[in-house]
Amino acid sequence: MLEVRNLAKTYGAVVAVQDASLALTPGEIHALVGANGSGKSTVIKVLSGVVRPDRGSIRWNGAVINVASPRDARRHGIATAFQDFSLIPTLSSVENCALATRQPAKVVARWLDEALDGLGARFDVWAPVETLTVNHRMVLEFVKALAQNPQVLILDEITAALDQEQVDCLFGRVREQMSRRPVAVLVVTHRLSEVLQYCDRVTVMRDGRTVSEHPVTELSRTRLAELIVGEAEGSGSMDHAGTAPPVGEPHVAELVQVSGRHRVSDVTLAVRRQEVVGVSGLQGQGQDELLSLAALFDHPKKGEIRIHRRAEGESEGGRRTIVPRVSQREIARTVGYVSGDRAHRGVFYRRSLTDNLFAQAYAMQGMFSWISLSRITRQTREILERLHIQGHPEQRIETLSGGNQQRVIFGRLLLNPFTFVVLDDPTLGVDIHSRRAIHQLIRAHREGGTLVYSSDNDELIELCHRVAVMFEGRIVEEFTDHELTTSTLGHAMLGRTVQGRETR
């Protein structure tokens, strides 16, 4: 039995955890849930020896243990799969596992392939980890933690980039391990369905405190959501986009028989003004490539991409068509982009809120433009107010919680009404509060059209007028209105139509 008692941790003036207590029982999967900034990750970091608490103790079967470093954590049999990874990018998967398990690489190579295969991830285990996709890295991070044969296994939002099938396999593996030896498992996740489906017990954190603990059987989805937010949640969260699909509006983006260099082949898709179009599919069916093509980051190998921008100063009729080979500045003016991969595709840590907000605006104005500090500071204040974020324009962005960081990035869409907005899993790892706020921002984007990918089908159903499902690089099915349900999407994602026949 691993117990955490009265944990507290402050970073400078920021109180991360005020008072957290937690008890893990071997043989049980325990979920730790809470909004972003509620202190979950700090608890995890303390347990894995990455961060030292100001106060509080960790006990193993009643005796206080000292977890002052990752080495101590390892000595006590605590293994963690980190959300932001503990993989060495330059080493291969085999070497990474060898490093973690202290086994020779030869031994690791013998079991690794098979272990990964079981979780739906096939790739070259000798390739450097930096060449792997996020999905593969997450699977590897999990396999690596499990291979340490721990007494306490901590999974920190490890499922965020996995698809449903993989999550299923993953928890299957955890249960299998538990049947062999009594492991205490702690899972941190934002997906409530995972908590209800796979976990035995749940502890809720709010504002740096653990507020309650429940057996999962006593909870419903709504009750759990209420506990996290700390208030009764409105029941309308699963509604459709709310507005009728815009029928007469002109197309803002057209992909005509587009094929990419990797997976995408022969995709035709159009987005109208005021329309929100979703893209769904299992991991690795070419969604990421499609998005990067649509956002004009890549050139298509075949086919055509056209984005129609209303020409400046002209009436409704005058339009300007943008193709991939136009200047960066022109693209900057036309296409907005927000990714859930904040650390790599969004946020500039160590920089001010102003710079984070204006990044694309600088690009629009070009290298030789003169920037008026008073003007951008004023505009930042306005946007922060509209986003309901407490903060100073000069404040560094890492002082905000993850959800608020993402909202600042969405502020770029408020700053410039882009003709076409591409969103790549925009609420990945974002708490319920911010997620709702972000959804409102997406719906409020009336100037142009939106293309959104999400690993969470519920989110697509909630947001989109229309959802295209990808399978092996192609769009196999499109759903609108009442056809748009979890089950239809789920079927199509596996490459089957609703009737159950193969579409290939």
């Binding site: 980190f82 990018p89 330059t90």
Partner: protein, 315 residues
Amino acid sequence: MKWRGWLSRWVPGFPGIILIVVLLTVNIILSGTMISLGSINDLVQVGMPLAVATLGQGLVIIQGGIDLSIGGIMSLANVLIVVLLPTLGFWPALLVAMATSVVAGLINGVVIVYGRVQPLVATLAMSFVASGVALSLLPQPGGSVATGVGVYMGTFLGFSTGIWVLVVLLLLWLVVKRFFGLAIYATGGQEHAAQRNAVNVNRVHLWAYTLSGLIAGLAGLAVTLEIASGDASIGASYVLPSVAAVVLGGTSLAGGSGGLVGPVMAAFALTEVSNVVFSTGVSSYYQTIVSSAVVILGLAVANIVKRRSSLLRQS
């Protein structure tokens, strides 16, 4: 599956190996003589100081740093041997020189780990200190070394002594790599991830800089045996070429990847460049231009080839 792993581990050393082969061929064509064991032994002798310096540099770079003090420490070792030789004799003088080199390297490590100074500037400052000490001890080049030169210049089983020393050092590296390799590569690859894997990164840094100090001392010994006298500024010209050789040998400056065989080959290749330029008989003014251009072109070609091959793999 497996051969790819082998390939990915050996490919990084390729540019260095290919370069030396190309340059040797060029030299043969230009000078009109066939390659002989003798000419290889000559090359090894002349290239030895840079090759050894590159070894230390490579080690430090792989674990995620850089060592600009190698030259200063080389000079210091050289001067110490020459100055102490008359009073202490060869071996004690050598011992003092090596001990001093180790201490200098250790100071680097301490300053970088506990003083939180960036390696580039910390070792730069150390290079001032070391060459300053060397210059104070021996303001004018001079002195002479006789002991050991004969052995060094001689051959063993037909190969120059230097080759054997180098082979021993490289074997030592393989042993180090076998037991500590992952920790070294992990620290260089991403320090905080290495920490999460319970690697004691501070200890890796300390060891690497200390070892690099010792190896720089050995490079100083090699240069002493080659010129058989003392010169307080002899090491300066080896610092940046050692960095160039590491990169040319396929080891990334970012750390965490590559090896040491390629860099050592590249070090000899850089030495061979001067031989080639010398045999063409052009003005020595062009010397730096040519060797710099070779480094740049070598890297450019290697990168273009790498990009091509990765594109091929994708399609």
